[in-house]
Point group: C2
Chain length 128, copies 2
DNA sequence: CTACATCTTTGAGCGCGCTCAAAGTCAAGG
DNA sequence: CCTTGACTTTGAGCGCGCTCAAAGATGTAG
């Protein structure tokens, strides 16, 4: 996380004005770091800034917002589950395509028939 | 996939000029659809357009580019694996945080002690 | 014949999430 | 005293991946 990003997060309200040293420099407490870590983790899993802003806002309001905050996290967790599924599908598809390329390379090396089993853009459905 | 996106992909060379009906309208063949499906799958897993362009370019050049194309796919597959790991970590973290929220809500309902076990921004390391 | 919908083209615009530039302040080292 | 360097501020700029607007051609229904 760059200083630029930290400033940006501060500007858009993701983090509250943080403590300063005597010279005016920012000093991040451990609590700040934990919160930043959490933010980073959410961003890394594609939570939009707007949603993080909403969450941060509720957090400022205290425990009474627990339910709403929990809903946000549950929704995001579901989104993550969906992403994992997508990624796993793609991963499997790539395994097939890579194997196919290995076959092609084999054919080229042995100077075999160049026309048999042409390359196919296998879809997820028919991942041959 | 919107028509806008299809046009865009054509413009940037991800798909070759496609067949037309007599009136000039585009007609996508099954091969076209398979390729688009593949592109969609790669985009959905965060392959940058530039990399897809590179791949498409190599594809136009035929089997002799097999090795390089395979490398691209292998790299992307590794990237996907990394993403899955990240997502799984976040998923686990959220499970903990959600459980914590449920506890808080419980405390609120029974009017219990409001100060015990304050909320914590659990990190990945210490996901309590 | 007249609407209306659906495609075509080109080029511009936009939302997101940073990322950087410019100018200034302060603290320590030589 | 002077330089170096790390921070500060504000506001502008950018790369990505679409997304849309405007104007025009063509086909189908009433």
């Amino acid at each position: 996380m760059t200083t630029h990003t930290l400033r940006y997060y501060e500007r858009v309200g993701l983090i509250q004005p943080v403590g300063r040293a005597r010279n005016g420099h920012r000093r991040y407490s451990e609590a700040d770091e934990a919160w930043l870590n959490f933010l980073h983790c959410m961003r890394a899993t594609n939570m939009p800034i707007r949603e993080m802003q909403r969450y941060a806002e509720l957090r400022e309001l205290g425990d009474s917002t627990s339910l709403e905050r929990r809903k946000i996290l549950e929704d995001h967790q579901a989104a993550i589950a969906g992403q994992i599924t997508e990624l796993q599908k793609a991963h499997a598809l790539l395994t097939h395509k890579i194997a196919n390329y290995k076959k092609i390379e084999q054919r080229i090396r042995i100077g075999g028939p160049q026309t048999a089993e042409p390359e196919v853009d296998c879809t997820l459905a028919s991942a041959s």
